[in-house]
């Protein structure tokens, strides 16, 4: 579904991603894991069109998307979810969600999508008429995810979904991701939390300093000695 091939991304002269390659298959949870500074956030930003790709190709459903603009990539069916920082602060929860369904194909279904999303996140429906900036950090994160779901994406990308969360919330977050995937959504997550992500993932890619290191099925990687030694403090 999503194919990233030999992608090089630079910030100025700094080479962040080096010949990075991976695939995300439909219906699966694909996890890209690595320690801080490995370039993980950059990957999603590059796919979403916010950061230019110097070399390599990114294709989605057979179409080349490497040079496309962010809104075009949303139209093609990819939705990016961050920690809830990019929500619209002075608009209500409902307005934020409605805008999540901005893209043409999703707009017509926005009422249904909103019902589904409120079912998934009851807390949000309690706050539906509140301004987004009055929400707590955790609620904003939920709003970010809900807003991403409103566009009825073919691929939902999570940028470090567990970052800054308390342990109980981390479990809840990964539980939510599992449920979203169970509903049929394809998911790509980029994470520092190697254990939880690989436990969940169908396909896992470990990266280090912007480069591929090892890949395989999530559960296989968890049993891999190198991975264990480097990331799982075993």
């Amino acid at each position: 579904m999503l194919e990233v091939e030999q992608v090089d991304v630079y910030y100025g002269n700094l080479n962040i991603l080096k010949k990075l390659s991976f695939k995300a298959q439909p219906g699966e949870i694909t996890a890209i894991v690595g320690s801080n500074g490995a370039g993980k956030s950059t990957i999603l930003k590059a796919i979403a069109g916010f950061v230019p790709v110097r070399l390599g190709k990114i294709s989605f459903k057979g179409q080349l998307i490497t040079a496309k603009q962010p809104y075009q990539i949303v139209d093609l069916g990819i939705s990016l979810v961050d920690e809830g920082i990019k929500i619209f602060p002075y608009m209500t929860v409902i307005e934020n969600l409605m805008l999540g369904a901005y893209k043409k194909s999703a707009w017509a279904n926005r009422t249904d999508s909103m019902k589904k999303v409120f079912h998934l996140f009851p807390k949000l429906s309690e706050r539906s008429n509140q301004q987004a900036l009055t929400l707590s950090g955790g609620e904003r994160r939920m709003l970010g995810i809900a807003r991403g779901l409103m566009s009825q994406p073919d691929l939902l990308m999570f940028d470090e979904p567990s970052s800054g969360l308390a342990p109980i919330m981390v479990t809840a977050m990964f539980e939510a991701i599992k449920n979203i995937n169970a509903e049929g959504n394809s998911i790509l997550i980029v994470e520092q939390n190697v254990w939880e992500s690989l436990s969940l993932a169908h396909a896992g890619y470990v990266i280090e300093n912007g480069k591929n290191v090892i890949q395989g099925k999530g559960e296989d990687l968890l049993g891999n000695d190198e991975v264990k030694a480097a990331y799982l403090k075993v």
Binding site: Y71, L80, K86, F88, Y90, L99
Partner: protein, 296 residues
């Protein structure tokens, strides 16, 4: 100064009238600043263009005033879109960097100067005037208010109301608000920034030009008239606060009334000073303006 009811009523009416005009002038300026992060030095030029365009349509082509105002709105909307695509879009790659500020200031200033020079050479520097649609004056007791002011006021309020409904209840209007509040987030939900920028500029130019149009039969028209409008728009936006449409509207009316009182109780000569002092006072107490959201 003898206090009397008639004077008070006239003062308040003129204040509200002027306020509506200020709100109309300032709305477009506020939208461009909030959504495109652009300080549009050409805003006054657009106001002036609208005034002259209406003057030409009415006094040279014999068109009905209301029709002229309507036509001016449409022409100015298109002009705004053209200016965005031809002059502002090419600077897009500098967004977020120092060159953006410099570039847009230079370009919009160029537009202002070009329009003013153009008006001067085509029309000359003499004041132009337009006849009112209805020459009569409303009279209740000794209270007098020109019908032309009422008509212009009604149209201005109508436009402001339409803008408000557009921003709050339409998909594009919400998208404009989103872009103003969180540019990257807006792109993350699939909003095309170029489309919003063009729409915003079109609306802004249309409102600026129509403000000039509505005031054409009331005040004098001359090539430099845009700078006054620009100055007022700036003060209103600063008082009302950046990023808040309702703030801009309230501030417009507030400024109109304050100036009206200042004109009567102090003197017309001091009013510009009073306005600035008031603005500075507001900014000292609330740096983001009365209802402000973004940093100026």
């Amino acid at each position: 100064m003898i206090f009397n009811m008639t004077l008070l009523c006239e003062m308040v009416s003129i204040g509200i009238f002027t306020g509506a005009m200020y709100a109309l002038m300032a709305l477009g300026f506020s939208l461009i600043w909030g959504i495109l992060n652009l300080f549009n030095f050409g805003h006054g030029g657009l106001y002036m263009f609208g005034a002259y365009l209406t003057w030409v349509l009415v006094s040279q082509l014999g068109m009905n005033l209301i029709l002229s105002i309507f036509l001016t709105f449409i022409v100015m909307f298109l002009m705004g879109m053209f200016i965005e695509v031809l002059l502002i879009r090419p600077l897009g790659k500098y967004r977020g960097r120092d060159e953006w500020m410099m570039g847009t200031v230079v370009v919009t200033l160029m537009v202002a100067i070009f329009f003013e020079a153009g008006a001067l050479s085509i029309f000359g520097g003499n004041f132009k005037t337009l006849p009112s649609l209805i020459d009569k004056v409303l009279q209740i007791g000794s209270f007098r208010l020109s019908y032309q002011m009422i008509i212009s006021f009604a149209l201005a309020v109508f436009l402001i109301w339409v803008m408000w409904r557009f921003l709050k209840s339409t998909k594009s209007g919400l998208a404009m608000q989103a872009m103003s509040q969180e540019n990257e987030g807006a792109q993350m939900v699939g909003i095309n920034p170029s489309f919003i920028y063009i729409l915003t500029f079109g609306i802004s130019a249309a409102f600026a030009g129509t403000a000039g149009s509505l005031l054409a039969p009331i005040y004098n028209i001359y090539p430099g008239v845009g700078w006054q409008a620009f100055g007022k728009a700036f003060v209103v936006v600063m008082i009302g606060g950046l990023g808040s449409i309702s703030g801009t509207i309230y501030a417009g009316f507030l400024l109109g009334i304050i100036e009206s009182f200042s004109n009567i109780f102090i003197s017309v000569k001091w009013t510009p000073v009073i306005s600035f002092v008031f603005m500075i006072f507001v900014l000292l107490v609330r740096p983001k303006g009365l209802f402000g959201i973004k940093e100026g």
